[in-house]
Symmetry: C2
Subunit: 355 residues, 2 copies
Amino acid sequence: MMIEKIVASAKSSWSSGEGPYHHIAISSRIRLARNLAGLPMPPFQNEDMGGAVLEKIRTAAEQIAVEEEAKLSFFRLSDLSPLDRLILIEKHLISKEHADGKAGRGLLINTAGSVSIMINEEDHLRIQALVPGLQLERAWELADRIDDLLEAQLEYAFHEDKGYLTACPTNVGTGLRASVMLHLPGLALTNQAPKIFSALGQLGLAVRGLYGEGTEATGHIYQISNQITLGQKEIEIIQNISTVTRQIIEKEEETRKIIIKEMPLQIKDRVGRAYGILKNAAVLSSQEALNLLSDLRLGIDQDIIQIGLGCIELNELMVASQPGFLQKFAGAPMEALERDAARARYFQEMLEKRG
Amino acid sequence: MMIEKIVASAKSSWSSGEGPYHHIAISSRIRLARNLAGLPMPPFQNEDMGGAVLEKIRTAAEQIAVEEEAKLSFFRLSDLSPLDRLILIEKHLISKEHADGKAGRGLLINTAGSVSIMINEEDHLRIQALVPGLQLERAWELADRIDDLLEAQLEYAFHEDKGYLTACPTNVGTGLRASVMLHLPGLALTNQAPKIFSALGQLGLAVRGLYGEGTEATGHIYQISNQITLGQKEIEIIQNISTVTRQIIEKEEETRKIIIKEMPLQIKDRVGRAYGILKNAAVLSSQEALNLLSDLRLGIDQDIIQIGLGCIELNELMVASQPGFLQKFAGAPMEALERDAARARYFQEMLEKRG
C-alpha cells in the first residue's frame, strides 16, 4: 500500500462510518502501549537500537496472517514527507511527537486506517484502533486481536504483578488508553462543561481538546480518556468510560433540546451565520472553521438547517480544513494566508455542491 | 393623498432614482428655514399661536398652483400614528424633534416625497427638497421654487441686513442647509475619514452620521453639510459643498481601488461574510444590518459580488431595515428581538429572491 491512499483523502475509518451515537460521539479509540522485553525503551535508545526494534516489529507484522483489509503496511516515518506526516496527525493516526520523523520511528497501518501502530514513539509499540461513534468495545476487540497476533511473534516486557511495562509509569499495567471524541456544543454553550469535566477528573478520566489542547476546545470537541491503567481489567476501564460517556451524551441531548426550546432564535441565528460565513468567507482560519462547523453540526443534528450534509461529511470537512490536508489538496505548500484562502474556497465548493 | 402612500413603501424619491455619483453619493438635500413675520417662532408659541400658524401655512399651500406630482398634501403630525411618524424620520422626511407630534406641528409633502415641509418644527417652515445622488443644484431649484410660491402667499420674517430670521441664530441669513449623504467605506476602513472630516470642519462644513449620530457613523454613511448660513449667497454655499463633495468622492474612489488592489482577499472576505450573514442570520440588529449593507454595497460597486442588486435596491434595504418600516411591513408593533428577527427574515427574502 502507498501512504498516498491514506493521506490523499479526507475520509478515515473513524470519520466516514456510522457508529452508535455518532451525532455526538465522533469516534472511539483504544491505544495499547507495549515494549519488547530486554530492549531499551525509546527514551533510552541510541539510533542503532531503535533500528533493531523497528526491524524486529516490522518482521513480526509481516508474519501475522489477517484478511486483506486488516493487513498492516509498514512505513519509516523518515521516508514520509513532512506534509504526509502532518496529515497523519490531522487524521489522528500518529501523534505530534511521532511525526518529527526521528530515525527509528515507524508506522504500521491497515488500508482502512482503523488500525495504526506507532513504532518507537514513547514505547516500542503504540497499537491504536479507531472506530466511528461510541463503540469502545469494538475498538478494543480490534486492538486486542492485533495485540495478540503480535504477541505471538514478539516477547513483550511484562511483569507478573505490574503488568505491561511502559516508558512512562502512568501507562504501566494494561498499557491501555481508551478515549472517545465528543461534540458537546450544548454543554459548552450553557457553561455546564467545566463542572462536568471537573467531575470526570474525580472519576479518573481526563478531558482534552480535538488535537490535545486545553479544555477550551476548538469546535466544542472534547476527548475523554482514562488516566488510570493499573489495577483494573481492560474491559472494566472500557465499560467505565462507556457508561460515563453515555451519561454525557444524554446530558448533551437534553441540553440541546432545552436551548432550542428556550432560545430558538439565537440558536437558529448561530447556525445560520455559521453556514453563511462558511459558504461566503474568502479567508477562514482553521480554528474559525472548526468553530463554525460546530455550530453547523448542531444545526444539522437538530434539523434547524438542511443542506444535504450529515455527520460523516462534517467529519470529513473537519479533517479537510486542517493545514496539512489543505496543502495536499492544493498540491503545493502554502503560507498561512494562502491556506486560509484555500480553506475558504474548499468550504465554498463543498457547501455550494450540497446546499 | 393618504400618508399610507409614503410610509408603506421602502421607496423614496431620494433613494429610488439614479443620480450623479450615486455609487457614493446617496442623496442631496436642501433645507430652508423660514418664519412668518409678526408671529412668535415655535419655541415661543403657545398652543393657539401654533394652531394659527399651521392654518395660515396650510391655506397658503392650498393656493399655490403646481403640477400634480409636485402638489403638497397637508398632515397634522398629531393625526399620524407614532409608527407612521417613525417611518417619516427613517425616510429623512421629518426630524426626530418634529415627530413627537406636539400640537401645532404639521407636514406638507408631495407624492414623490421629494419635497417635505415641516411646519412649526424649530421654525415656522422648514422646506426640504431631497434628490438622489450628488445634485444639490437640482434640490436647490426644487426648494427655491416652492419657497418662492409660498412667499407669494405669506409674509416671511426678513431683515434687510441679516436676511431670513430664524429661531436659532445659526440659521439666520439664507436659512439654508445643504447636505449630501455619502457612503465612504474606503475612507473609513483606511482611517482617513477622521483627518478629512477635521479638514471639512475648517472649511465650515459639518459631518454627521446617517441619523445624525456622531462621527462614528453606522454603515459608513456620513452627512456633510454647511455650518454657515450668513454672508454667502445660496448658490455659493451650494457650489462650495458640491466641489468639496466631488473631491471626497474622488478620494473615496481612489481608496477603493487601492484597498482592492492591496488587500483583495480581505475585502472579498468582508463582502462575502456580509452577504452570508445578511442572507442567513436569524437575528439582525439595525446597526449590524447597516454595517453589513455597507460592506455589501462596496462589494457590489467594485464588482466583487454579483447578486442582482444595485445602489437603488440597497438604499431601499437600508430604509426597510429600520424599526418603523419593519413594523409597518409586519403589520404589528414588535419588541426589539422580534424586530431583529423580522429584519433577518426580510433580508433573507430579499437576498434569496435576487441571489
